[in-house]
Amino acid sequence: MSENLNEYRVRMSGIKKSFAGVKALKGVDFSLRPGEIHALVGENGAGKSTLMKVLSGAYDCDGGEIYIDGVVAKIGTPRRGKELGVGIVYQDFELAEDMTVAENIFMDNLGSRGIVRWGRLFASARRMVENLGFEMDVRAPVRDVSVAYKQIVEIAKALSTNARILILDEPTAVLTPRETDKLFGTMRVLKESGVSIVYISHRMDEVFSVADSITTMRDGEVTGGGLISDFGVDRVVELMIGRKLDTMYPPRGAEIGGEALRVENLSGDVFKNVTFALHKGEILGLFGLVGSGRSEIARAIFGEDRPAGGKIYVGGREARIGSPYQGRRHGIALIPEDRKEQGLVLEMPIRQNMTMTDMKKICGPLGVISVSREKQTADVLVKRLSVKTDDAGNRADSLSGGNQQKVVFAKWLNTDSEIMIMDEPTRGVDVGAKVEIYSIMNALAARGVAILMISSELNEIIGMCDRTLVIDNGEIKGELSRGEISEAGAMRLVVGGV
């Protein structure tokens, strides 16, 4: 057994972590060998990032043990994590945008005795970047550097503190295929030099091309793992979602009616010439990865961003939508991608969040709120969506992720919107709540609501959508009907080829 311990760089056993009573990790075991690339896969909310934050010290775990090189390690703070050689690169970078690349790389160690020696700093930064197989101006402010290069800056920054364990959280989500290839090259170089890499992703093709071993997670538990050569894509997907694809999605029987929304040649900062039509009772998928421009398209239709060009038709008539207010008036609803930042006022009661979208319903003359009518409206919505709370007067942040999302849905059910745009409607929601949300969506479609669902989870797209638009780099690359997309071949193509 002790021999076994030594062959691992990291061994985590029985790791537990809860947030406000919600168990994010329920006793997780995870091990990492020296000089391997280990893929950590799972759906959003499965606990991958939480587990890695425990390893890096960003979170302290509630239970379990961590061994680094066979020795028990108490991490608990990011500083201690760094000392133990754990470096982490988050999905949303943590760089000082106005400082130079070099300063960012050596943020923790800018000079000796408080004096910065610029020449030396720039030289070592350049060497660092070159060793990773890249070239860039280390004197440039990070703000001026492309996303791919920011990633490299982050990696260099982690390595500058002699990280031997490097955690990359969805590093390719924002990269082009070429940049991705380059990053993989860098990862292999690092692996050869003995660095162990944890690679969080849900892009199967990448996982299978770069990783040596794999661990799958679901709902805060590890569902499987081992050498990558022992696995196939279908098996991994099954381990990720915990059931066969077809039992997750309730059956649909909505009749597709006339055109509800049409978008012609819509262009913006990060998307161009987007054209599609959405019909009553239809669920149209917009499949693309983070950074592909999909959220921006949604925001432009809803009026949050001003498009550079193109036309939007609602119910066959051209609509000029300059603000979310006008979007709402045109019967459009947006379930935004980030419910905490964009969907809810967390400090406000559940009830007030629900009624916010249509205060006319509960207001008398002079805008005086009728408390009883508000209560009644909210109670109906709570029941209709089975939001789990004993009192709708509680603050919205007292709810779990899934129930918070139901409140966001409730906001818009309250308005009787005819067109609903849902940006990652099930992100960070447990499997049970997911199925509930799918049922809500189906019920809406059955009532003739037109739904545009943005998702980066292919399973969801396959299970829910009548048609799917595949978007990459701000352009629609193709349209797949329900039948086409469920074929295994098409699935691999979309997961890998985008």
Binding site: P324, L334, L344, V345, L346, M356
Partner: protein
């Protein structure tokens, strides 16, 4: 949610009121002259303008903004109002009309600042710093740096008189307080103003015209300043020098009352309490014959202590 937590929550909610009660008790013990009807009404009269202006400030602070121009707008209103009624200048405008004209101009001033904040996304601090300077300048230009007697018996009676020993301005301030408290708790307007301060993005994405609301609070604040400026002139003159530093008292009152400068948190009751705490400290020190400069130092310390007390509570949320 255990019982003790709820009790603590209630204490935190009404902490400023508790502090005020303690201060009143301490003051009564310190000075015989404190608990006299004359002193109390005097204290309230002196702070009526502050109450009204601070409530306007509260609206701005609830949205996460700040309005540094309140004192200047009050001064501007004071001299403009006096000028419009000035018979020496041959104006002698009909009183309601003069009041409406001052209010309209002041609202326009607030609207301009609000527009820059809400629609041009300029920092409230910068915008109102500029409007603070400008409004004071206009006040001096109108008055040529002289005091202008207010030639209207109604206004003077109102500012100096009282109803059953309660000065009229105190009654007015109380009425404004009740109005603000009701608006904040029971109207859409109040709800949106508070919600915007907590999470403007979420409110905007609910299809609410948040910019309009943000702009409106600067108008409300300007209107409150106008009212404050007019009732501040106890001596019956319009004066461009009045209400210097009033913005700081108003901000301090909101903060002592537990309002968060990042928005979303704060109530009318606690803001009223904040004004009274500040006023009371000044009053008791005057009664105790503390010299003016040490008074300022003590005031500063008390502000810090009041906020520290709340900071503790606030973090636990």
């Amino acid at each position: 949610m255990s019982g003790t937590q709820t009790a603590r929550g209630i204490l935190r909610k009404y902490l400023p009121v508790v502090v005020l009660v303690i201060l009143v008790a301490v003051s009564s013990a310190l000075s015989k002259n404190f608990m006299t009807a004359q002193n109390i009404f005097n204290l309230l009269r002196q702070n009526s303008a502050n109450v009204i202006v601070s409530l306007g400030m509260l609206l701005v602070i609830l949205t996460g903004g700040i309005d540094l121009s309140v004192g200047s707008v009050a001064a501007f209103s004071s001299v403009l109002f006096a000028t419009l009624l000035d018979e020496r200048a041959g104006n002698q405008m009909y009183l309601p009309l003069a009041f409406a004209a001052v209010a309209a101009l002041s609202a326009a001033f607030g609207a301009a600042a609000g527009y820059l904040v809400a629609y041009r996304k300029m920092a409230p601090f910068v915008v109102t710093l500029a409007s603070m300077t400008a409004a004071r300048g206009v006040a001096y230009m109108i008055s040529h740096a002289k005091t202008i007697p207010i030639a209207n018996t109604f206004v003077n009676t109102f500012n100096k008189g009282s109803l059953m020993a309660v000065p009229y301005p105190v009654i007015l301030a109380f009425a404004v307080f009740v109005l603000f408290a009701l608006v904040l708790s029971y109207t859409c307007y109040g709800r949106f103003v508070q919600a915007i301060g907590s999470n403007e993005t979420a409110v905007r994405l609910s299809g609410i015209r948040t910019s309009l609301y943000v702009m409106s609070v600067y108008v409300m604040s300007a209107l409150a300043s106008t009212l404050g400026g007019i009732i501040e002139s106890r001596t019956g003159v319009g004066d461009a020098r009045v209400c210097q530093g009033m913005e700081l008292d108003a901000i301090a009152a909101c903060v002592i009352g537990g309002a968060s400068l990042s928005g979303g948190r704060g109530t009318a009751l606690n803001t009223l309490t904040g004004v009274l705490i500040l006023g009371l400290i000044g009053n008791i020190m005057a009664l105790m014959k503390v010299a003016p400069y040490p008074q300022q130092v003590i005031k500063g310390i008390i502000i810090i202590v009041a906020v520290l007390l709340q900071g503790r509570g606030g973090k636990k949320q």
